[in-house]
């Protein structure tokens, strides 16, 4: 479980999990960028904004997060860029499925 320092939450105390978003990178992205990250997040933002935030903070991930075929799932449901995501939620960054 690698963590990218730039997105690790500096927060401490009982509210920490409520003020962060858990980020998972699947497939090749997990190998390239680290499987799991934690992003500080005090209030809701759009998925489009989240793509930018993650891309800025996880080294090398900006390019794949800008691709339309990189989809994001919030709490296990794929959502459009207009969806909102907030503290305590889990976001998965999904490369194109290979199929089984």
């Amino acid at each position: 479980m690698s963590r990218s320092a730039c997105v690790d939450s500096p927060g401490i105390g009982p509210d920490k999990t409520r003020m962060t978003i858990r980020i998972l990178f699947l497939g090749e992205f997990g190998v390239r960028f680290g499987r799991e990250h934690t992003l500080d997040c005090a209030e809701p933002l759009s998925v489009a904004e989240l793509r930018g935030r993650i891309g800025a903070q996880v080294e090398g991930a900006g390019a794949v997060l800008a691709r339309p075929d990189t989809r994001l799932a919030v709490d296990q449901t794929i959502v459009p860029d207009s969806a909102r995501v907030g503290p305590g939620q889990e976001v998965a960054v999904l490369p194109i499925f290979s199929g089984g």
Binding site: P95, S98, G99
Partner: protein
């Protein structure tokens, strides 16, 4: 009527699955089973092993959704899908699909449809390992074309 879709790290056991699926079946005249095996070679060259990454929970639901869609679309009685995740050696089964129906056309079509969807839309990320190192792969053009045969 039972529709089941399971994800497993163990290799599916096609013969035991088929035996269980056939047992006591007197209403259905047709059972179609598909077994997908890991090949020791792909268009990119020799393959020494596969790794199927998945997103726990999300991937299971992608399998369940396809099985339910096949059930809704065709006149079938039972569907069973077992899909592997994790490390797979050449020659090992990756997927087992069985469909039972009163008549064979529905059984063939449902199995065919399920495989076309599984090969393009199942939430896996597949890495092929070979002498030149690992490669992460995408559905082939043929897989995409096969999927297009079933208008939604």
């Amino acid at each position: 009527m039972a529709v089941t879709a399971l994800l497993t790290r163990q290799p599916p056991a096609p013969e035991a699955e088929l035996a269980a699926f056939l047992a006591g079946r007197t209403v259905d005249g047709a059972v179609v089973a598909f077994v997908g095996l890991a090949r020791d070679e792909s268009r990119s060259g020799p393959v020494t092993g596969l790794y199927l990454d998945h997103y726990p929970g999300f991937t299971e639901r992608s399998l369940e959704r396809m099985a339910a869609d096949a059930d809704a679309r065709f006149a079938v009685s039972d569907i069973r899908v077992i899909h592997r995740c994790g490390e797979v050696a050449p020659g090992e089964p990756i997927v087992f699909v069985a469909v039972a129906a009163p008549h064979r056309r529905a059984a063939f079509e449902a199995a065919d449809y399920l495989m076309d969807r599984l090969k393009t839309e199942a939430a896996f990320w597949k890495r092929e390992d070979g002498p030149d190192g690992p490669r992460w792969i995408e559905p082939t053009d043929q897989d995409r074309a096969d999927r297009q045969r079933w208008s939604d």
